[in-house]
């Protein structure tokens, strides 16, 4: 039987959480020993994990700035996690104080934390919802009160979709969300892949195994599979590339080799 939407998951901090692990990779202390233990285990296989995460944050920052430069002031960030630094609202409101942001996460701890962080910020809100139920996101009061869906929105799916298994139909969910976006909206996403990781696939696979063990499997997809998320969008230059190569501020050669892992891209809705 499906859990009714009003019956929340319990909170079990004896189980690692991907958002707290993410925070740990980024040098934060919004995490517990179980999270750090799992993250350290993943780093045994993939020592560059922090650099990958850092590249993710850097890409997101550039993408948000790009969106603002394109006149977009509305942001829907799904899988926002625990904002350690450089969050969408910080970047966007730094560029344009009127920017409005709605964060979405299904981890109650991340939601509770965001509520505290966003206290007093009228332009930003947080929704406890799951990508797999787009109607919960779109029907939320935060979306209703913060976003005008008649105008373009930047939909951010950064380091999120590789946690959604095919059985949960991530393509359908992304399509459903995209369907309500106004023309000119942007879809911003990064996705894990074996491409670009400066390690043998077998070794990188060890990190994938760690996520599998904590029941939050990491789904590595091919470039073609990732490109399918952009169906119906026109790719913003330079297309679907590694994170470091997407509109870099500094010469990519200066970047850490791990910053070239996986794929990042921005699409525009016609």
């Amino acid at each position: 039987m499906d859990r009714p939407s009003w019956a929340p998951h319990g909170i079990d901090i004896s189980t690692p959480s991907v958002s707290r692990m993410y925070d740990f990779y980024l040098g934060g202390s919004h995490n517990f020993e179980v999270d750090r233990e799992a993250a350290r285990k993943a780093m045994e296989f993939l020592p560059g994990m922090p650099k990958i995460m850092q590249a993710n944050r850097a890409f997101m920052r550039r993408a948000v700035r790009y969106a603002v430069s394109e006149g977009i002031t509305q942001f829907l960030d799904i899988g926002s996690g625990i904002p350690t630094f450089g969050n969408v609202h910080e970047v966007a409101q730094g560029e344009n104080p009127d920017a409005r942001i709605v964060y979405v996460d299904h981890d109650p701890v991340a939601v509770a934390h965001s509520e505290v962080v966003l206290e007093g910020n009228d332009g930003a809100g947080i929704v406890a919802a799951d990508l797999r139920k787009p109607e919960d996101i779109l029907g939320s009061s935060a979306v209703e009160s913060h976003l005008d869906l008649e105008r373009p929105v930047a939909l951010l799916l950064v380091a999120l979709l590789h946690f959604v298994e095919d059985a949960d139909d991530p393509y359908g969910a992304v399509a459903e969300l995209g369907a309500v976006l106004a023309p000119g909206s942007l879809i911003v996403l990064t996705h894990a892949a074996y491409d670009g990781i400066p390690l043998p696939e077998q070794q990188a696979g060890g990190a994938v195994g760690v996520y599998k063990n904590i029941r939050n499997p990491l789904i590595m997809r091919s470039r073609d599979e990732i490109a399918r998320f952009f169906e119906g969008y026109e790719m913003v230059e330079p297309g679907l590339v590694s994170m470091a190569e997407w509109r870099p501020d500094t010469p990519p050669e200066d970047e850490d080799p791990y910053a070239f892992s996986g794929f990042a891209g921005v699409g525009r809705k016609a």
Binding site: S29, Q54, R57, V109, V116
Partner: protein, 711 residues
């Protein structure tokens, strides 16, 4: 900042660049290295200022260390690399021309301060973040607890308020919790009812055989749920019928944990269904099984391979008279009494009695020796009926007629069997009643054909299956053709050509004779008219058409006839309508009026089958007839030689009588020349019969007439 790269500002920038390059790889911010460098410039300036101040204050180092933390460079490696950079390059790039020893000492002190500042800020930040995440966790837990509580309250409300009975038991069958609805269904709580809390002791003799197998499969985890109709005992011992759905509840690891039972009380619905079923299959008056149930049983018996059946179809003799004279209430009481007696006659296994309706009953036996049993059964019924029945102080003797059908299963349908029994019963009745008859397939066949013809008649008229043959009427004086009698035939698709005797009585019975008669009249008039048009010089030719008693009574007779004649354009005098003598016996003026009207218009009326109906000869004067048709029975005596003298005398007398009343005489059934000769001598006017011609198509007739006209 504006000086050359070799100036103090330039040298400061160079130090910041070196510093940023050193720490950038170990930072975890989303800033680029140039951005970090920009962040480091003010810090470098602070360090330089402190290094070169007149009064050395190493606290500036603490601020620098804390600043590193503020832009998220929390990795201890950042500190290490920062200290390396300061140690190696601060004095070099920012020391100016001060005392080298002093500068190095100050740099060392500054490094200590940076480390302390970094550590303090990191510690504060770490504690703050740990505090934040803990608080977030607590908040989230609180939120979840509230939501769970709300959820629990909702479930509790559903559980307690449900109209459906809900029970939860462990896998050993111990009932852990039941809701109020279930308590009400059982007539009380489990605890104070003395009922076992063990689910598998809740058996009932009417449990379906698979119920407990399904249960075992479920608790073993081999089945997720099952749904059955199951009875239980209530606290007071009465039975509770339920639609029971049992589901297996598993824990998060998927191991079977509990069983959940949902029960819907169907007791009343079930009783209602049983009662409706009983009412639908039993006769309200007598309580006997009705036609529906009887057919079910009969069909079952007929479908039993190798089985035989015996059936008695009983109809009470004279029941209608009893009903009419004593009233329906008495009639009903009689039926009830008869039903009781019938039931007492059929008590053996495989025997049943049913009421089909009215005073018709059936008794069925499917015993081992039906041939003998059904006879005995019929005998028992008749002898039981012979005992007088006392109703309203009167002794009534009721008799019955029974039709018996006996035979092997699998040959006939229930409807066929019942029809055969019905027909046989009527045979018993027409033989005087108070008896039973055995079905005879040949007799059935005849009756069935009669029945079949009756039902086929209307469609036959629509499909134009009727046609007319004409038998010439001949002047006895000169042998010329004077006209013809129209005789209707039915070209039946299965039975071939049928004469009027086969279907006219049936058409009379059903009233179809009216449209059929109209069609015959129209067709005969039309063909006669056509012939006249084609042969204007051939002289008048009269057409005789039969009128049945039923047509005679039909109000449209005159109008139809006039309309037909006028529409087609035939002279009324050309038409002769034949009416049987028996139809006019005792006819009053009302009945004769239409005939008079027709006669006044010039239509001839012939009295058919004259001499068979004991008619009042005096009455002949009143009738608007112009012709008598002598029945063939009179002429049959003249076929032999010498002719029967009595017949001869009678014919002679009738002819004399007719002629004295100005009526012409036609004789039927003339088959020999001697007959014809004799009749001519007796003074008969017209004759018809095989001697002249058999009935045939119009062409045949008109050849005869033309031969006559020309020859």
């Amino acid at each position: 900042m504006s000086d050359t790269s070799d100036g103090p500002e330039g040298r400061l920038r160079r130090f910041a660049t070196i510093w940023s390059r050193a720490i950038f790889p170990v930072t975890a911010t989303s800033l680029t290295r140039p951005e970090i460098e920009l962040q480091l410039i003010p810090l470098a300036r602070q360090l330089r200022n402190s290094l070169t101040a007149r009064v050395f204050q190493p606290e500036a180092g603490r601020e620098v260390g804390a600043a590193l933390i503020s832009f998220h460079s929390t990795d201890p490696e950042v500190l290490s690399r920062t200290l390396d950079a300061v140690d190696a390059y601060l004095v070099l790039y920012c020391g100016g021309d001060g005392d080298g020893e002093e500068l190095r000492a100050r740099s060392a002190r500054l490094q200590h301060a940076v480390a302390a500042g970094f550590a303090k800020a990191l510690r504060e930040r770490t504690l703050a973040e740990q505090e934040a995440i803990s608080r977030a966790t607590l908040n989230a837990r609180q939120m979840v607890a509230e939501a769970l509580h709300a959820s629990e309250a909702r479930f509790r409300a559903v559980f307690e308020g449900a109209a459906i009975g809900i029970g939860i038991a462990d896998l050993d069958g111990n009932m852990l919790e039941i809701n109020d609805a279930l308590k009400r269904m059982f007539g009380g709580a489990l605890d104070n009812s003395g009922r076992s809390r063990k689910v598998h002791e809740w058996t009932h003799p009417d449990d379906a055989p698979q119920v407990w197998r399904l249960y075992e499969e479920l608790v073993r985890g081999e089945r997720e749920h099952y749904r059955v109709e199951k009875p239980f005992y209530r606290q007071d011992g009465t039975v509770l019928w339920t639609n029971l759905t049992v589901s297996l509840l598993r824990d998060p690891e998927g191991n079977p944990q509990y069983q959940l039972a949902l029960m819907e009380d169907t007791t009343e619905r079930r009783l209602l269904n049983l009662r409706l079923r009983y009412e639908a299959t039993h006769d309200a008056l007598t309580g006997l099984p009705n036609r529906t149930l009887f057919f079910e049983r009969l069909e079952k018996a007929l479908a039993t391979p190798g089985g035989r059946f015996g059936l008695c179809y009983l109809d009470l003799d004279g029941f209608k008279a009893i009903n009419d004279s004593l009233g329906h209430a008495a009639g009903d009481r009689l039926l009830v009494e008869v039903s009781d007696r019938l039931q007492s006659c059929a008590t053996a296994p495989g025997e049943m009695v049913a009421r089909l309706g009215g005073d018709e009953f059936v008794a069925l036996t499917t015993g081992p020796d039906t041939e003998r049993e059904v006879d005995e059964l019929a005998g028992r019924i008749l002898s039981m009926l012979a005992i007088p029945i006392r109703i309203e102080g009167r002794e009534l003797t009721v008799r019955g007629s029974i039709g018996i059908v006996e035979g092997p299963a699998g040959e006939r349908s229930a409807a066929e069997v019942l029809r055969s029994a019905d027909i046989t019963m009527y045979r018993a009745k027409s033989a005087g009643g108070n008896r039973f008859e055995l079905a005879d397939p040949e007799m059935d066949e005849r009756t069935i054909t009669r029945h079949g013809l009756t039902t086929a008649l209307p469609a036959a008229l629509d499909r134009s299956e009727f046609f007319i043959e004409y038998q010439p009427l001949v002047h006895l004086a000169d042998g010329s053709v004077s006209g013809a009698e129209a005789l209707v035939r039915w070209s039946h698709p299965q039975h071939g050509v049928l004469g009027p005797d086969r279907f006219i009585p049936l058409a009379e019975h059903t009233g179809l004779i009216v449209p059929l008669g109209r069609w015959v009249l129209e067709e005969a008039v039309r063909q006669t008219h056509e012939w006249q048009q084609r042969h204007p010089g051939a002289g008048p030719l009269r057409i005789n058409v039969n009128l049945s008693p039923c047509q005679l009574h039909h109000s449209g007779l005159v109008a139809d006839t006039v309309d037909t004649l006028e529409r087609i354009g035939l002279e009324p005098g050309t038409l002769c309508l034949e009416v049987t003598e028996s139809a006019l016996i005792g006819a009053d003026d009302d009945l004769l009026k239409p005939l008079r009207r027709l006669a006044e218009m010039g239509v001839d009326i012939a009295l058919d089958d004259f001499g068979t109906g004991y008619s009042n000869l005096a009455n002949l004067r009143r009738l608007p007839v112009t012709e008598l048709k002598l029945d063939r029975s009179f002429t049959q005596g003249m076929q032999q030689y010498p002719a029967d003298p009595v017949d001869t005398k009678i014919v002679e007398g009738i002819v004399a009588l007719a002629h004295s009343l100005d009526l012409s005489v036609t004789v039927e059934g003339v088959e020999t020349a001697a007959q014809a000769d004799q009749l001519r001598r007796l003074g008969c006017d017209t004759a018809q019969g095989w001697y002249y011609a058999r009935p045939g198509p119009w062409d045949h007739l008109h050849q005869l007439a033309l031969v006559d006209a020309t020859g």
